[in-house]
Protein backbone atom coordinates (compact mmCIF):
# COMPACT_ATOMS: atom_id res chain seq x y z
CA UNK A 1 0.00 0.00 0.00
CA UNK A 2 1.27 3.48 -0.87
CA UNK A 3 0.64 6.41 1.47
CA UNK A 4 1.74 9.94 0.49
CA UNK A 5 1.58 12.38 3.40
CA UNK A 6 2.86 15.48 1.55
CA UNK A 7 0.05 17.02 -0.50
CA UNK A 8 2.37 18.70 -3.04
CA UNK A 9 4.16 15.39 -3.71
CA UNK A 10 0.77 13.66 -4.04
CA UNK A 11 -0.34 16.28 -6.61
CA UNK A 12 2.93 16.10 -8.54
CA UNK A 13 2.76 12.29 -8.74
CA UNK A 14 -0.89 12.43 -9.83
CA UNK A 15 0.05 14.69 -12.76
CA UNK A 16 2.30 12.04 -14.36
CA UNK A 17 0.66 10.84 -17.59
CA UNK A 18 -0.02 7.05 -17.52
CA UNK A 19 1.93 6.49 -20.76
CA UNK A 20 4.99 8.27 -19.34
CA UNK A 21 4.72 6.24 -16.16
CA UNK A 22 4.40 2.94 -18.04
CA UNK A 23 7.40 3.86 -20.19
CA UNK A 24 9.76 4.65 -17.35
CA UNK A 25 8.70 1.61 -15.37
CA UNK A 26 9.55 -0.49 -18.44
CA UNK A 27 12.94 1.21 -18.80
CA UNK A 28 13.51 0.68 -15.08
CA UNK A 29 12.82 -3.05 -15.50
CA UNK A 30 15.41 -3.14 -18.29
CA UNK A 31 17.91 -1.36 -16.01
CA UNK A 32 17.21 -3.92 -13.27
CA UNK A 33 17.79 -6.75 -15.77
CA UNK A 34 21.12 -5.24 -16.87
CA UNK A 35 22.21 -4.82 -13.26
CA UNK A 36 21.21 -8.41 -12.41
CA UNK A 37 23.25 -9.83 -15.33
CA UNK A 38 26.22 -7.65 -14.36
CA UNK A 39 26.06 -8.96 -10.77
CA UNK A 40 25.73 -12.59 -11.87
CA UNK A 41 28.62 -12.34 -14.30
CA UNK A 42 30.76 -10.11 -12.08
CA UNK A 43 30.89 -7.33 -14.67
CA UNK A 44 31.61 -3.86 -13.27
CA UNK A 45 30.32 -0.57 -14.68
CA UNK A 46 33.82 0.16 -15.93
CA UNK A 47 34.01 -3.18 -17.72
CA UNK A 48 30.60 -2.71 -19.34
CA UNK A 49 31.73 0.75 -20.45
CA UNK A 50 34.78 -0.80 -22.11
CA UNK A 51 32.73 -3.58 -23.72
CA UNK A 52 30.24 -1.10 -25.18
CA UNK A 53 32.79 1.65 -25.95
CA UNK A 54 30.85 4.09 -23.76
CA UNK A 55 31.84 6.27 -20.84
CA UNK A 56 31.16 4.91 -17.31
CA UNK A 57 28.80 7.87 -16.77
CA UNK A 58 26.65 6.54 -19.62
CA UNK A 59 26.41 3.15 -17.88
CA UNK A 60 25.33 4.89 -14.65
CA UNK A 61 22.67 6.70 -16.67
CA UNK A 62 21.37 3.38 -18.09
CA UNK A 63 21.29 1.76 -14.64
CA UNK A 64 19.60 4.69 -12.87
CA UNK A 65 16.29 3.86 -14.59
CA UNK A 66 14.18 6.13 -16.72
CA UNK A 67 16.60 6.02 -19.66
CA UNK A 68 14.76 5.67 -22.96
CA UNK A 69 16.82 2.88 -24.57
CA UNK A 70 16.90 2.61 -28.34
CA UNK A 71 16.76 -0.87 -29.90
CA UNK A 72 20.33 -0.31 -31.09
CA UNK A 73 21.52 0.36 -27.54
CA UNK A 74 19.69 -2.72 -26.26
CA UNK A 75 21.41 -4.89 -28.87
CA UNK A 76 24.76 -3.31 -27.98
CA UNK A 77 24.30 -4.06 -24.26
CA UNK A 78 22.89 -7.51 -24.93
CA UNK A 79 25.91 -8.42 -27.08
CA UNK A 80 28.32 -7.03 -24.50
CA UNK A 81 26.71 -9.02 -21.68
CA UNK A 82 26.12 -12.14 -23.78
CA UNK A 83 22.51 -12.37 -22.60
CA UNK A 84 19.08 -11.42 -23.95
CA UNK A 85 17.65 -8.36 -22.24
CA UNK A 86 14.12 -8.45 -23.62
CA UNK A 87 12.02 -10.96 -25.54
CA UNK A 88 9.31 -10.29 -28.06
CA UNK A 89 6.25 -12.45 -27.36
CA UNK A 90 3.93 -13.78 -30.06
Amino acid sequence: MIEIYDDILREELAKIPPLTRQTYFLTDSIAARIEAIMKTKGISKKQLAELTHKRPSEISKWLAGGHNFTCKTLVLISNALGEDLIQVTH
Binding site: E12, I16, T20, S60, G65
Partner: protein, 158 residues
Protein backbone atom coordinates in the same frame (compact mmCIF):
# COMPACT_ATOMS: atom_id res chain seq x y z
CA UNK B 1 22.17 26.83 16.39
CA UNK B 2 19.60 25.28 14.08
CA UNK B 3 17.21 22.61 15.30
CA UNK B 4 15.53 20.14 13.02
CA UNK B 5 13.10 17.26 12.90
CA UNK B 6 12.72 14.38 10.48
CA UNK B 7 9.23 14.03 9.03
CA UNK B 8 7.67 11.11 7.18
CA UNK B 9 6.46 12.19 3.72
CA UNK B 10 5.55 8.88 2.05
CA UNK B 11 5.52 5.17 2.69
CA UNK B 12 5.14 2.07 0.55
CA UNK B 13 5.94 -1.59 1.16
CA UNK B 14 9.31 -0.96 -0.48
CA UNK B 15 10.45 2.29 1.11
CA UNK B 16 9.88 4.93 3.77
CA UNK B 17 10.53 8.48 2.53
CA UNK B 18 11.42 11.19 5.01
CA UNK B 19 12.47 14.83 4.81
CA UNK B 20 13.94 17.44 7.15
CA UNK B 21 12.16 20.38 8.84
CA UNK B 22 14.44 23.12 10.19
CA UNK B 23 13.72 25.47 13.12
CA UNK B 24 10.04 24.65 13.40
CA UNK B 25 9.38 25.35 9.70
CA UNK B 26 6.10 24.01 8.41
CA UNK B 27 7.77 23.15 5.12
CA UNK B 28 10.18 20.25 4.78
CA UNK B 29 13.32 20.71 2.71
CA UNK B 30 11.93 18.52 -0.06
CA UNK B 31 8.66 20.48 -0.07
CA UNK B 32 10.69 23.70 -0.44
CA UNK B 33 12.46 22.09 -3.41
CA UNK B 34 9.13 21.18 -5.07
CA UNK B 35 7.70 24.65 -4.44
CA UNK B 36 10.81 26.25 -5.91
CA UNK B 37 10.74 24.31 -9.19
CA UNK B 38 7.28 22.91 -9.87
CA UNK B 39 6.16 25.93 -11.88
CA UNK B 40 9.52 26.74 -13.46
CA UNK B 41 8.99 26.29 -17.20
CA UNK B 42 12.69 26.47 -18.06
CA UNK B 43 13.53 23.59 -15.69
CA UNK B 44 10.34 21.60 -16.15
CA UNK B 45 11.96 18.66 -17.95
CA UNK B 46 14.64 18.33 -15.27
CA UNK B 47 12.12 18.68 -12.45
CA UNK B 48 9.84 16.06 -14.02
CA UNK B 49 12.78 13.63 -14.27
CA UNK B 50 13.22 14.02 -10.50
CA UNK B 51 9.52 13.49 -9.74
CA UNK B 52 9.50 10.41 -12.00
CA UNK B 53 12.52 9.04 -10.15
CA UNK B 54 10.74 9.55 -6.80
CA UNK B 55 7.75 7.68 -8.24
CA UNK B 56 10.00 4.74 -9.19
CA UNK B 57 11.63 4.78 -5.74
CA UNK B 58 8.22 4.61 -4.05
CA UNK B 59 7.41 1.56 -6.21
CA UNK B 60 10.78 -0.24 -6.12
CA UNK B 61 12.80 1.11 -3.19
CA UNK B 62 15.78 3.44 -2.88
CA UNK B 63 18.10 1.18 -4.86
CA UNK B 64 21.77 2.06 -5.07
CA UNK B 65 21.64 2.33 -8.86
CA UNK B 66 19.14 5.21 -8.57
CA UNK B 67 21.77 7.47 -6.99
CA UNK B 68 25.24 8.87 -7.33
CA UNK B 69 27.49 9.43 -4.34
CA UNK B 70 28.09 13.12 -3.71
CA UNK B 71 29.39 13.44 -0.19
CA UNK B 72 32.43 11.75 1.29
CA UNK B 73 33.26 8.05 1.16
CA UNK B 74 32.15 7.53 4.75
CA UNK B 75 28.73 9.18 4.53
CA UNK B 76 25.40 8.29 2.92
CA UNK B 77 24.88 11.57 1.04
CA UNK B 78 23.72 10.97 -2.53
CA UNK B 79 22.17 12.86 -5.41
CA UNK B 80 19.30 11.41 -7.35
CA UNK B 81 20.72 10.09 -10.59
CA UNK B 82 18.42 11.41 -13.29
CA UNK B 83 18.78 12.57 -16.83
CA UNK B 84 19.16 16.21 -15.85
CA UNK B 85 22.12 18.42 -16.53
CA UNK B 86 20.69 21.32 -14.55
CA UNK B 87 18.95 20.19 -11.36
CA UNK B 88 20.27 18.25 -8.39
CA UNK B 89 18.31 16.83 -5.48
CA UNK B 90 20.34 15.61 -2.50
CA UNK B 91 19.31 12.80 -0.17
CA UNK B 92 20.54 10.58 2.62
CA UNK B 93 20.22 6.98 1.52
CA UNK B 94 20.17 4.96 4.74
CA UNK B 95 19.24 1.68 3.05
CA UNK B 96 17.23 0.30 0.11
CA UNK B 97 14.16 0.96 2.27
CA UNK B 98 14.93 4.29 3.96
CA UNK B 99 15.51 7.55 2.12
CA UNK B 100 15.69 11.04 3.65
CA UNK B 101 15.14 13.60 0.92
CA UNK B 102 16.82 16.97 1.37
CA UNK B 103 16.87 20.06 -0.79
CA UNK B 104 18.55 20.82 -4.08
CA UNK B 105 18.92 23.38 -6.79
CA UNK B 106 20.38 24.39 -10.10
CA UNK B 107 23.81 22.95 -10.74
CA UNK B 108 25.64 25.66 -12.63
CA UNK B 109 29.13 24.67 -11.59
CA UNK B 110 31.08 21.50 -12.37
CA UNK B 111 31.11 20.30 -8.77
CA UNK B 112 28.68 21.08 -5.95
CA UNK B 113 31.50 22.46 -3.76
CA UNK B 114 31.69 25.46 -6.11
CA UNK B 115 28.09 26.39 -5.34
CA UNK B 116 27.41 27.93 -1.95
CA UNK B 117 23.75 26.90 -2.11
CA UNK B 118 24.33 23.28 -3.14
CA UNK B 119 27.26 22.70 -0.80
CA UNK B 120 25.04 24.03 2.03
CA UNK B 121 22.43 21.35 1.27
CA UNK B 122 25.10 18.64 1.12
CA UNK B 123 26.67 19.80 4.40
CA UNK B 124 23.26 19.77 6.13
CA UNK B 125 22.80 16.15 5.07
CA UNK B 126 26.33 15.20 6.10
CA UNK B 127 25.63 16.63 9.55
CA UNK B 128 22.35 14.74 9.69
CA UNK B 129 24.09 11.55 8.69
CA UNK B 130 26.38 11.89 11.73
CA UNK B 131 23.48 12.74 14.06
CA UNK B 132 21.42 9.78 12.87
CA UNK B 133 24.34 7.37 13.29
CA UNK B 134 24.84 8.71 16.81
CA UNK B 135 21.12 8.39 17.63
CA UNK B 136 21.19 4.80 16.36
CA UNK B 137 24.24 3.99 18.48
CA UNK B 138 22.53 5.49 21.54
CA UNK B 139 19.42 3.40 20.87
CA UNK B 140 17.20 6.46 20.41
CA UNK B 141 16.10 5.44 16.92
CA UNK B 142 15.91 2.10 15.12
CA UNK B 143 15.75 1.39 11.41
CA UNK B 144 13.25 -1.40 10.91
CA UNK B 145 12.75 -2.13 7.20
CA UNK B 146 10.90 0.93 5.83
CA UNK B 147 10.43 2.74 9.16
CA UNK B 148 12.74 4.73 11.44
CA UNK B 149 11.20 4.03 14.81
CA UNK B 150 11.43 6.93 17.26
CA UNK B 151 12.52 9.51 14.68
CA UNK B 152 9.44 11.73 14.71
CA UNK B 153 9.69 12.34 18.46
CA UNK B 154 13.26 13.61 18.18
CA UNK B 155 14.60 17.13 17.71
CA UNK B 156 18.18 17.39 16.47
CA UNK B 157 20.61 20.23 17.14
CA UNK B 158 22.37 20.83 13.85
Amino acid sequence: MKTARIVSIAKSDQVGLYSICFNGDKETEFRKFMQKFKDNAALNKDYQAIIHAIDRIIANGALERNFRYEGKMKDNVVALSVNSRKLRLYCLRMSDQILIIGNGGVKDSRIYEESEELSGYVMDLQKFDELLKQAQEEGLIYIEQNVITGIEEMTFKV
